[in-house]
């Protein structure tokens, strides 16, 4: 069972990451990269690294992406 979840998550990470980098619109790419982060959280939990998972959830998925979005907003304003 765990193996299946693991496999599914791996495939999900790769697919989401691929879609994210081929996305022409930057906001979409950022949201998708949050998806990659979430899948990575699952992976970290499955690999029994809860500390890393918590960090990834909070920094990688949460505040990191939000800072990207804010930077994007800045760029938009200066144009």
């Amino acid at each position: 069972m765990i193996g299946l979840i693991l496999l599914g998550t791996f495939i999900a990470v790769i697919v989401i990451a691929f879609v994210a980098i081929t996305q022409p619109k930057l906001p979409d790419a950022i949201i998708l990269s949050m998806g990659v982060g979430l899948a990575a959280v699952v992976l970290f939990v499955l690999f029994q690294a809860p500390d890393v998972a918590l960090t990834e959830a909070v920094i990688g998925t949460g505040i990191g992406s939000l800072i990207y979005l804010m930077a994007l907003k800045h760029l938009g304003e200066q144009k």
């Binding site: 500390d51 918590l54 960090t55 920094i59 505040i63």
Partner: protein, 236 residues
């Protein structure tokens, strides 16, 4: 798609070159995966019980590699400082702000104390369970961010953040220096850390204290970054 027309020769050749390098590196790496994976982690874990800290990861981060952590705090400090320096002089403020809807405001206000509480919990129980100062600090910063997003009137008092940040930074280095004087090692554990207290809130000597300090520092730095990027530093 006509490759020759759409992609310039330079791009194509540099891509080929880099792909070649990546393949070479990968082939070397895959051939040479060591049979027995070494790890300093095991030997570090063996030493963990000396410190009386339930979460071994915390011991490694805060105590064994505490000097690196101090360096990372410094990196965060300079980064936040640099963002403040680069962004604050631009003066475009609250124009074309959309008033956020009532539900968002209410929800954010309800969630704010809960998120802060969770952040404080993660921070203070870093030596007992999953998490710690870095994560807790960022959780607190994300609560602040939520308030910024939902309300147009929310703003952090610059003075309070500054006091917190300064206090945390100074006390981290001071604890290190006290360790140098008392137990003859920078960042040494000079408070009682007995294995019999394992699992209690007050255990592990300086480890939980430093992790809380890290949490305060990270929380205030990240909140400052958020505030600077949202251009609402209080000018009064």
């Amino acid at each position: 798609m006509n490759i020759k027309r759409d992609i310039s020769t330079t791009t194509l050749s540099s891509f080929t070159l880099s792909a070649f390098f990546v393949l070479t590196v990968l082939s070397i790496l895959l051939q040479n995966i060591p049979q027995k994976l070494f790890s300093a982690g095991d030997s570090l874990l063996k030493l963990n019980s000396d410190q009386g800290v339930a979460n071994a990861v915390t011991t490694v981060v805060v105590y064994f590699r505490g000097f690196d952590t101090l360096g990372e705090i410094a990196v965060l400090f300079i980064a936040s400082f640099g963002i403040g320096l680069m962004l604050t002089s631009q003066t475009h403020g609250d124009k074309n702000k959309v008033k956020s809807n009532f539900m968002l405001q209410l929800g954010a206000r309800l969630l704010f104390p809960i998120i802060i509480l969770f952040g404080v919990y993660v921070m203070t129980f870093g030596h007992l369970s999953v998490g710690g100062g870095f994560q807790g600090g960022v959780i607190i910063a994300s609560a602040v961010l939520l308030m910024f997003v939902s309300s147009n009137h929310f703003h952090l008092s610059h003075r309070v953040v500054e006091v917190l940040e300064t206090f945390a930074g100074i006390s981290y280095v001071m604890i290190g220096l006290i360790g140098l004087i008392v137990v003859d090692s920078f960042l040494g554990n000079f408070l009682p850390h007995n294995i019999s207290q394992l699992g209690l809130l007050l255990s592990g000597g300086i480890v939980p204290i430093i992790y809380i300090i890290i949490g305060i520092k990270v929380g205030s730095e990240m909140s400052l970054i958020v505030q600077n990027m949202l251009q609402r530093s209080d000018n009064d």
